[in-house]
């Protein structure tokens, strides 16, 4: 019973700490945003566009509270942000949050397929590279992967499009209407991550092959495939969990560029469009929502990693 209460308390405590972290993160982000926007000059001028005469400007100022002192504007902004009210899109005239909310599923879909593709490429490739099989091919692949680590995902994407879409018409290049349109964007997201992950897995497998328990299995006559798959691989993948966690946390960076290249109707594409159009309510909504999402994904990944590899928990405490 006491243990149960203790556990409950610690969960409560860690949840409290977590929300405190998220809140402070959001406060800083929102504050940064607020002053960034004010740095550009008068948002009303931006709002009214080319045609803005003085009366229209004054009207806009009153409408958006831009005639108030800066600190009043700031606290109003904070209060609204706290209720996730970022105002109405200056371009579409709809609630900014709703616009962003609508885009989230396709971004999450791309994140999931991209990560899955990353794992599907890196794990077999890395494991193969960590073995003693086919030395020439390994050497060649090793160099290829090292070079690929230097080739940004957007360059890969452009070459893929050129080859598979423009030349051979294998895939539709843009949007996500057809059944196979997710393949190239996911591949692009994966290409940001796979070279590094494959290299780390390769090193881990090669190291694990030297461990006593694998040597033991070898001595007892286990087949090479058994040594690799049953013995070396599980530990190698354990060693790579930290990197996988980091990659999940950093997914958003690759996704923004990928979405833009493929006109994928996600949050990243929306962010870029609204930044270029100076649609501040939408920009703010995107930033706040991505901050929350990235934070939650980080937290979830950390917990998952701790379950998979309890060593990480000890390291984090130390």
């Amino acid at each position: 019973m006491a243990a149960f209460v203790d556990r409950g308390l610690s969960v409560l405590k860690s949840t409290g700490l977590l929300s405190l972290q998220l809140l402070s993160l959001l406060l800083v982000t929102v504050t940064l945003l607020f002053f960034l926007v004010r740095l550009t000059g008068d948002p009303a001028v931006v709002l009214s566009g080319e045609s803005g005469d003085l009366d229209a400007l004054a009207l806009l100022r009153t409408k958006y509270g831009l005639d108030q002192p800066l600190y009043v504007q700031y606290f109003t902004f904070l209060a609204n942000a706290a209720q996730l009210d970022f105002g109405v899109s200056w371009v579409e005239g709809r609630d900014a949050l709703a616009i962003v909310w609508q885009r989230i599923p396709s971004t999450l879909f791309l994140a999931a397929t991209g990560m899955a593709m990353n794992l599907a490429i890196s794990i077999p490739l890395g494991t193969f590279l960590g073995t003693q099989l086919a030395p020439r091919m390994r050497k060649a692949l090793d160099i290829f992967i090292f070079v690929m680590q230097g080739v940004p995902g957007y360059v890969v994407a452009l070459f893929l499009i050129q080859l598979l879409v423009v030349k051979y018409h294998f895939f539709p290049s843009v949007g996500n209407e057809s059944g196979l349109s997710w393949v190239l964007p996911s591949l692009t997201v994966a290409s940001f991550l796979a070279p590094k992950l494959a290299r780390v897995i390769a090193v881990n497998v090669a190291e694990a092959m030297q461990e006593d328990y694998v040597v033991m299995a070898r001595a007892q006559g286990a087949r090479y495939s058994t040594q690799v798959i049953r013995h070396a691989f599980p530990n190698a993948i354990l060693g790579a969990t930290a990197l996988i966690g980091t990659q999940v946390a950093g997914l958003v960076n690759g996704i923004i560029i990928t979405e833009t290249i493929f006109s994928w109707p996600g949050v990243g594409r929306l962010l870029l469009d609204s930044v270029l159009l100076l649609d501040f309510p939408v920009v703010q909504a995107v930033v706040v929502l991505t901050t929350i999402m990235v934070f939650m994904v980080n937290w979830g990944t950390d917990r998952l990693m701790e379950v998979i590899d309890p060593r990480l928990k000890r390291e984090a405490r130390a």
């Binding site: 960034l36 940004p152 423009v166 560029i257």
Partner: protein, 299 residues
């Protein structure tokens, strides 16, 4: 840090480190890297000072020779939609892509190393504060905020470098803190403090030299990843400006002509890949050197 010293400094460190051994004993890998680094540095010099009428060559338009494939009429990498020579534009682009990435690395490095050193020599509360700041910065979706910053503050070399630099410093801080704490507890630092040597001198002459090898490794890798981000942001249209031959912008231009002249992708794509791979190789090599030094110091 200027781009010259970005490519050059890594090369210099390499040379200084390798100088202890005769060149004949260098592994072939190292020789290739040094040669490639020096070549790249020379190209950067040409670009920065506009030697050989580079700018004129790069901006010369000839609409009758548009979208030429590589190797035709003296255009090694072909021409773009306005008939400008791709190779010359790439060389001029070095000035933008490499400078912005180097500037961003310098900004990230100054913030990161500065905060790290503060945390190393400062009291516990400073260390805690810096730790919080690192956590906070890492939790930001950095590229999202960089895009917003550039979009709002307006395009330009400096804006881009700042927007990237202010989010990429935490790895410098982590390394400075971890390694610097290791040096700070060494007895020669206690001895210096006991002799009344000032805090600034202890940082400059004892702690910084002690962590410099590891910092150079981080710098090389950070430069590589900042170069990818720099070109990426310009590719998205947030680069230094329209018509500027920044490599990312050139990729974006090439994309528009992709159906007619797919080879235009090759030049900027290769230029980015070459620089990033080179920086990664230098980083790997520096890391190997640091490990070897540590081993020989331990034994």
């Amino acid at each position: 840090m200027s781009p010259v010293s970005a490519a050059g400094a890594a090369g210099e460190a390499k040379v200084a480190q390798a100088a202890r051994r005769p060149i004949a004993e260098w592994p072939w890998r190292r020789i290739i890297i040094v040669v490639a680094g020096v070549l790249t540095a020379i190209l950067v010099l040409f670009s920065v000072f506009g030697w050989g009428g580079l700018d004129e060559l790069a901006s010369r338009r000839d609409l009758s020779r548009r979208l030429l494939p590589p190797g035709t009429e003296g255009h090694l990498l072909g021409t773009d939609g306005l008939g400008r020579d791709t190779l010359m534009r790439l060389l001029v682009g070095t000035r933008y892509t490499l400078i912005i990435a180097a500037l961003a690395t310098a900004i990230a490095g100054s913030i990161g190393i500065g905060l790290g050193l503060l945390a190393v020599v400062g009291p516990a509360w400073v260390r805690a504060l810096v730790g919080r700041l690192v956590d906070l910065t890492i939790a930001f979706p950095s590229l999202v905020l960089a895009i917003v910053m550039v979009g709002i503050l307006g395009r330009g070399n400096l804006t881009l470098a700042i927007a990237l630099g202010v989010f990429y410093w935490p790895s410098f801080t982590r390394v400075t803190l971890a390694q610097g704490r290791g040096v700070e507890v060494l007895q020669y630092v206690s001895a210096a403090r006991l002799f009344g040597v000032s805090r600034l001198r202890i940082i400059l002459f004892h702690i910084l030299p002690g962590i410099a090898p590891t910092l150079s490794v981080v710098t090389a890798f950070q430069f590589a990843s900042l170069l990818i981000s720099t070109a990426g942001l310009s590719f998205l249209g947030l680069g230094p400006g329209l018509g500027v031959p920044e490599w990312g912008s050139m990729l974006a231009e090439a994309r528009a002509e992709m159906t007619r002249a797919p080879w235009l992708l090759i030049g900027p794509g290769l230029a980015i890949a070459w620089t990033v791979v080179l920086a990664n190789l230098i980083g790997d090599e520096l890391a190997a050197g640091t490990r070897a030094n540590r081993r020989s110091a331990d034994s």
